[in-house]
């Protein structure tokens, strides 16, 4: 049985994805004279910029999530549907979710992007990435399990592999993970073990390009590198991972090939448009770039379809300085707002100017009292930048009713250096690091 979930005379806007792009589109349509259907496969919006704090034991998933239904509870023109869209039919103007169809007059596709393993999909299990709540819980499980297994390990070589963490990718997420693990090993956990000395922990950050945080200016990037090294992180730029297997990661810097034993390899590199990009390409003929992102028109529609928009990470918008806009939250938000306004103008017979991204600045957190802020006209490092980072993130969380909660936890964490959310949960084998990297039990 096929059921149409919309049958209304009003203009029907369907938004696929309740990430930053979809959420902001819907918010800016909440008072418009249209009917909005927001579809997401998860029942919550996720504040991904703080996901690394879940992965390293500072925050809980609910602290950085906002139930979509609660967000739109009072927007009576908006219905939220939990469901995974698997197809669209642009001729019939329908979105397909399993055995259900949702008709639309205007469609916004905002399903975001995932990591890319550059074709090495078998690395996924060996070196998990960070995109969902489940990813964060899994990273947390691996990180804390490694210390636990090391505490019980008597073979020094195996212990060393357990206390070696390799992070692939020197963008903001890689840097944030490396910094947080360094603080964990060298500060938080220092007194907690009896058989190991966590200060022997080795943390490697591997970056393909010639500097970390390539999106900020070279001088700030240099400050970040030095700060990370001071924290104890071993930084390798111009380094490409060539193999991951059996808890051995192999990488190449120039002609030099190194293989190192590590039980915890974390992936923070690569971008790949989500599956809806492929669906769009098949159904509408829209061109996608090498990363699977749909190339959009200046007004964020796709070629030949005035009523289909792509916003956020899934889109490739290259009309400013020739390069695609970066996959960051402000781009998704501004695009969402732009499209919401465009739809309303259109219904009133007005036209809109092309989308223009207004870049405000870049931030990166390195560790306690240590961050980098690049606003172009203003550059901050160290403690001041850290305070700035905090304020900005608190401000961004303004629409989350968890804001005060997060602040409270940060303050607590700051004072005690404790990580209260360091639970090893989820998988059955929370006890042993048995399946860490999918090999046999460590402690044989």
């Amino acid at each position: 049985m096929v059921v149409a979930l919309n049958n209304n005379a009003q203009h029907q806007v369907v938004i696929i994805g309740g990430g930053f792009g979809g959420l902001y589109t819907a918010k800016h349509l909440a008072k418009a004279n249209v009917k909005v259907t927001l579809i997401d496969k998860r029942n919550f919006h996720l504040f991904q910029p703080l996901l690394y704090q879940v992965a390293t034991g500072t925050l809980s998933p609910a602290d950085i999530s906002s139930p979509l239904r609660a967000v739109f509870s009072k927007s009576k023109n908006t219905q939220v549907l939990l469901g995974e869209v698997n197809d669209i039919d642009p001729k019939a103007q329908q979105v397909i979710m399993g055995d259900k169809v949702v008709p639309y007059d205007t469609l916004i596709v905002a399903t975001g992007a995932n990591h890319s393993y550059f074709g090495k999909d078998n690395w996924k299990e060996l070196a998990p990435g960070l995109k969902t709540v489940e990813d964060a819980i899994e990273m947390r499980r691996r990180i804390f399990s490694a210390f636990e297994a090391a505490e019980k390990e008597t073979d020094p070589e195996k212990r060393r592999a357990l206390l070696t963490f390799v992070i692939v990718g020197g963008g903001p997420t890689g840097v944030e993970l490396a910094g947080a693990i360094a603080e964990l090993a060298y500060k938080t956990l220092k007194e907690d073990f009896r058989n190991i000395d966590t200060s022997e922990t080795k943390i490697l950050l591997l970056q393909g390009g010639d500097r970390i945080l390539p999106h900020i200016s070279p001088d700030l990037s240099q400050v970040a590198a030095v700060s990370l090294q001071k924290l104890g992180v071993i930084l390798q730029t111009n380094t490409r991972v060539t193999n991951i297997e059996n808890n051995i990661v192999t990488f190449k810097q120039g002609d030099e090939v190194t293989a190192i034993a590590s039980k915890t390899i974390l992936w923070a590199a690569g971008v790949q448009g989500s599956a809806m990009g492929k669906v769009l390409a098949e159904r509408t003929g829209v061109e996608c770039d090498r990363s699977g992102r749909a190339i959009v028109e200046p007004d964020l529609t796709i070629k030949g379809y005035k009523n289909i928009f792509v916003v956020g990470d899934l889109g490739n918008f290259s009309y400013q300085d020739g390069k695609p806009l970066p996959g960051v939250a402000p781009v998704a938000k501004q695009q969402g707002e732009y499209v919401a306004k465009l739809i309303q103008k259109r219904l009133q017979g007005q036209t809109s100017r092309p989308f223009h991204y207004n870049h405000v600045g870049s931030l990166a957190m390195i560790g306690q009292n240590l961050a980098i802020v690049d606003l172009g006209f203003l550059k901050l490092t160290g403690f001041l930048a850290w305070v700035f980072w905090l304020i900005v993130h608190i401000y961004f969380l303004i629409e989350f009713d968890t804001k005060l909660l997060v602040v409270f936890q940060w303050a607590w964490n700051y004072i005690t250096r404790n990580r209260r959310s360091r639970l090893i949960t989820g998988k059955e084998d929370y006890v042993e690091a048995k399946t860490v990297n999918n090999i046999t039990q460590i402690a044989n």
Copy 2:
């Protein structure tokens, strides 16, 4: 390779289990002239009395957990090991964890109890119970998925089954779950859906005995029943579940047999000693009761073994009023403290009086502004009891650095009636209620 993890001249105390029993034993040994090894298969102590608030979306797992390593960070005589004990060797005085052994001079077994499905172990999947963090996340997933699936369901009969919740067991956990789901359906979620009216939700609480909360006095139990009914819960006492399958739960009240369609059946009945009870029986010959709890001597040792103690839910202590002490946190805590003191006295050549449980009172939460307090000399109901419940629980959380956080969230929840932690996470199929109760997709 077998590795002994202890080799020390000091008196070695090994504690299996970091629940209330084991935690309090270890805490009261933290300054003693003994070496303590606390083994748990989880890396955190869990405050089970608030687990239902995780299952119904008020709190996050980390809010009611305390990393064991952090608790004992400063107790330098105490080592924490993450591991599952699978055997003991009382002759060699060793605890066995996989390929590792831990020698002991004194052993405390505090591994607790689980639910019992009274031999119907296939009901476990169909009607999950509440004991671990994972259990709570799974309940939460089922509860919120049911509302989500109902929103998309167009068949009225299927919709009714999705909006029917059956809770088996009228003890504190069953009552707390029923009350919390009622508040969710009739208050929190009321404005959040567009296609369903959550006030049509049906919540059944099935109790085998003739009244709910049998551990408190009959008059208070009656007050609780009336309060629950006022909240909208349908209460059936003297009711035995005879079958669960295919989302149909069948139960018998007297001669009357009823079968009702429900997609969410939750289990809050039965007690079964944890697996270590069986191991103990096999290795030491200690007698277990019908629920698999080890029958202990007046000093909490087991017959024939002066250096093996059982504390908490795993023990059956029947020297006060002939009945076994109830499986509640205060019993476990008092027993832990008792054993810790006994060990120290023994090392000084002194003897101890038999254990005596000092019952302070019983509490149960029904809903906002609604609780039951039975201190014997003082009985409270309604708002006053609710405030009392809050204060007591805040006090109990005193050793958790999450106390303020929990209070904050309760206050927030109280003011907004929101449930910020209502994430559907964990399993791959967070989208559809597909595998709710393990049958085929609902929405066909």
